[in-house]
């Protein structure tokens, strides 16, 4: 029987970017800028995601002429057709195929105007107090206690309409709350950055209704309305460094196939902000031979490596419809701070392209699993990495062409977290009424009881590329704090070894967050950008 989506059509939604451009915003495609041009601004921001977007609006409102550079294309509401093919090609780093060096970890990261905020699943959490305390203790981060950060989170919660999702969870998320409730496992409703959300389920392919309060529909328009500019399809190749100053950025223009079109130009500004994330940011500094006396650039990059557990139900789950993430459990997250890895449990939306990757493998079994998609649930566990000496995170290196390589083997410490997380998820799924459960590991069969799952999971191997390690959270690589043995960015977001370079994004986090990181990025960006505005204007 042919089924149809419960909401058959999305129409009548205006496109704020197209309207803004028609009204005269200063927005340019890099290929339209003459080769060899020099462009000037008060501040140049490299990257337009959670960090760059937030910073741009705050600096623009302070009266500064801000120029935003974005490597990815400019896509907006009218382009968002809920089509995985177009989304992965146009909105994700490396066509959604970004991976770690040994292929083990798949990294979903945005590459478009608005960055990952355009394609994330909207989950918004304060930085946990345990994490903030750990940063103060271990990295000498100053001014970032729970009390000191709270007002910044509040401001961004208001700016981006963040509040707990008031609608009942979709069946995929209800598996988590129902199973957790049955077991006495603590669970809560996820706060989301949405306004007037249609509960469609397509946050990952670009919100088709403008409900998601991504940078694309909030702070970037906010900055552009204040005489700031945006150049997209513009890859920051190198920082131009002279002594202790950054003079500007060398930029390569990219064509419609995301390849250099042969043109390059430079942007000069007295203040340079890097907001290009924990992978591309360190790579930009490495390409630029930025001063780094302790060799810390690109070290301690964290990803919340994700373990996945599928389950099958008699009833329909339709895991592709409805708000992708609305329930979480931190029950296993803070049993300790710096011992064996803790993890956060959430649900994973499953559209067929993504599902076909996460099911792992090939042939008859893969085909059969795909055929059961409507009755399939998928839970995930975000492993909290970076809080233990056996969890040093990834190193960012450069390939021959200067693009980043992410070196992050799954060691015994992480694998121990994976096994415990897979068991926790299986317990919850069976308690919620699942008929069978299978972790995303090539050797795992569909387990038909919780006992079978526990025993089977303990016997699985940590063999690279035999199980799915996901990540949608790129953090660290340019740690902040006053401990110069460990950190390259100070407690105000300034690069320790350059006078006018600021790093305002998730790359400054000295560990992973232990929660979906977007609100952590917004909060720290709001704090740093306000401090920077005051400093530039001489009021601080």
């Amino acid at each position: 029987m042919k089924r149809t989506p419960h909401i058959p059509m999305v129409a009548g939604i205006p496109d704020p970017i197209l309207e803004g451009i028609a009204s005269g915003w200063n927005v340019q495609d890099a290929v339209d800028i003459a080769d060899g041009s020099v462009i000037e601004a008060d501040v140049v921001i490299v990257g337009t995601g959670a960090g760059g977007g937030t910073t741009a609006e705050i600096l623009a409102e302070a009266g500064l002429n801000v120029l935003m550079l974005e490597e990815g294309p400019l896509k907006s509401t009218n382009d968002f057709k809920m089509d995985e093919r177009e989304a992965y090609r146009d909105l994700y780093q490396e066509s959604a195929g970004r991976m770690s060096k040994d292929g083990s970890m798949s990294i979903l990261q945005g590459r478009c105007v608005g960055g990952t905020t355009v394609i994330n699943w909207t989950s918004s959490f304060h930085t946990p107090e345990n994490t903030l305390n750990y940063w103060a203790d271990e990295f000498k981060l100053e001014g970032a206690s729970k009390e000191e950060m709270e007002p910044w989170f509040k401001r961004m919660e208001e700016r981006l309409s963040i509040s707990p999702w008031p609608v009942p969870p979709n069946p995929n998320n209800a598996v988590l709350s129902r199973g957790a409730e049955a077991l006495g496992v603590d669970w809560h409703v996820i706060p989301r950055n949405v306004a007037g959300c249609w509960n469609l389920g397509y946050c990952g392919t670009g919100c088709p209704t403008n409900a998601k309060q991504s940078m694309l529909v909030t702070t970037i328009p906010g900055a552009l309305k204040k005489n700031s500019g945006l150049i997209y399809s513009a890859r920051a190749e190198r920082l131009i460094i002279e002594g202790k100053k950054v003079l500007g950025v060398e930029v390569t223009a990219l064509n419609g196939d995301y390849k250099p079109n042969g043109n390059s130009f430079s942007v000069k500004a007295p203040h340079v902000v890097m907001s290009c994330g924990g992978i591309n940011g360190p790579a930009l500094l490495l390409r630029s031979d930025a001063p780094d006396p302790k060799g810390r650039v690109g070290k301690r990059t964290f990803f919340h490596p994700v373990a996945f557990s599928f389950s099958q139900f008699e009833e329909l789950i339709d895991p592709y419809y409805g708000a992708p993430q609305s329930i979480y459990s931190d029950h296993y997250q803070w049993l300790n701070v710096s011992g064996p890895a803790g993890y956060k449990l959430e649900a994973t939306p499953l559209h067929p392209g993504l599902a076909s990757v996460l099911f792992l493998g090939h042939g008859g079994r893969h085909y059969e699993d795909m055929g059961n998609l409507p009755n399939t649930n998928l839970l995930l566990a975000l492993i909290r990495d970076g809080f233990h000496e056996d969890s040093p995170g990834a190193n960012i290196e450069l390939a021959h062409d200067g693009s980043p390589i992410i070196d992050y083997p799954v060691n015994d410490y992480l694998w121990d977290g994976f096994q415990r997380a897979m068991i926790s998820m299986a317990e919850i799924q069976f308690a919620a009424g699942a008929k069978k459960v299978r972790p995303s590991h090539l050797d795992a069969p569909w387990y038909e009881s919780v006992e079978e799952a526990r025993e089977g999971i303990m016997n699985l191997d940590n063999r690279s590329n035999s199980f799915t390690v996901g990540s949608a959270h790129v953090m660290g690589g340019l740690s902040m704090g006053e401990d110069l043995e460990k950190c390259v960015v100070d407690s105000n977001g300034k690069y320790h070894y350059l006078d006018n370079l600021y790093v305002i994004d998730g790359s400054v986090f000295p560990t992973s967050i232990g929660a979906n990181p977007q609100l952590s990025v917004y909060g720290f960006a709001c704090k740093f950008a306000n401090q920077l505005a005051a400093k530039i204007k001489g009021t601080a």
């Binding site: 496109d15 959604a96 040994d102 196939d257 099911f359 590329n465």
Partner: protein
């Protein structure tokens, strides 16, 4: 070692693989292979078309292309793979093509455990045997190749709207873009 990297696109590391496998074959035959796209494609070359075309039926079901696309299935998949590969940036694409080059010569094919005869003559059983040997390999690089190939082919296949019915996905809502007048009107 800076040649090995990422991706379902990370198959390029197989350029390294051929060497690790103890054969100088990759060096001897060189990578001076044809770089021009095959007829009708922007990026896929003949060697890529034969290799991916031979593996895809084994990856998708072991019996062929599932779904209603019938005789158009192979072409549609190759077009989707071509689109994905076309948007890859320099290094990733070059690495992937180097890996596929290994599949174009008998010497390098055998060195990486593929059939001696060209991929366009391979049976689905041979493709299956090749996939399983890579999946079960002790060499991390072959397992990476296996995972990468399966992911690349699967995501390109199952994200095609004609194939939604295989997974029982009813599809997304229809999006009608807001009707702005075209520039100049």
């Amino acid at each position: 070692m800076k040649t090995s990297r990422r991706g379902f696109l990370q198959l390029g590391a197989m350029g390294t693989a051929a060497l690790t496998l103890g054969s100088g074959a990759a060096m001897l035959t060189g990578c001076a292979k044809q770089q021009t796209p095959a007829e009708g494609f922007k990026t896929l070359r003949e060697v890529d078309v034969y290799f991916l075309g031979a593996l895809a039926p084994a990856i998708l079901t072991t019996k062929g292309y599932p779904g209603a696309l019938g005789k158009d299935a192979r072409q549609r998949l190759l077009e989707a793979l071509d689109t994905t590969m076309t948007t890859l940036q320099g290094h990733a694409l070059k690495q992937l093509q180097m890996a596929f080059d290994l599949m174009g010569s008998p010497v390098t094919r055998v060195a990486v455990g593929a059939p001696l005869h060209p991929w366009q003559e391979a049976t689905v059983e041979e493709a299956e045997e090749f996939l399983v040997s890579w999946r079960e390999s002790m060499l991390p690089i072959k397992r990476m190749g296996y995972a990468g190939l399966c992911k690349l082919v699967s995501i390109c296949w199952y994200s095609q709207p004609e194939n939604f019915e295989i997974s029982g996905y009813p599809g997304p809502p229809k999006k009608i873009p807001f009707p702005y007048p075209a520039a100049g009107e």
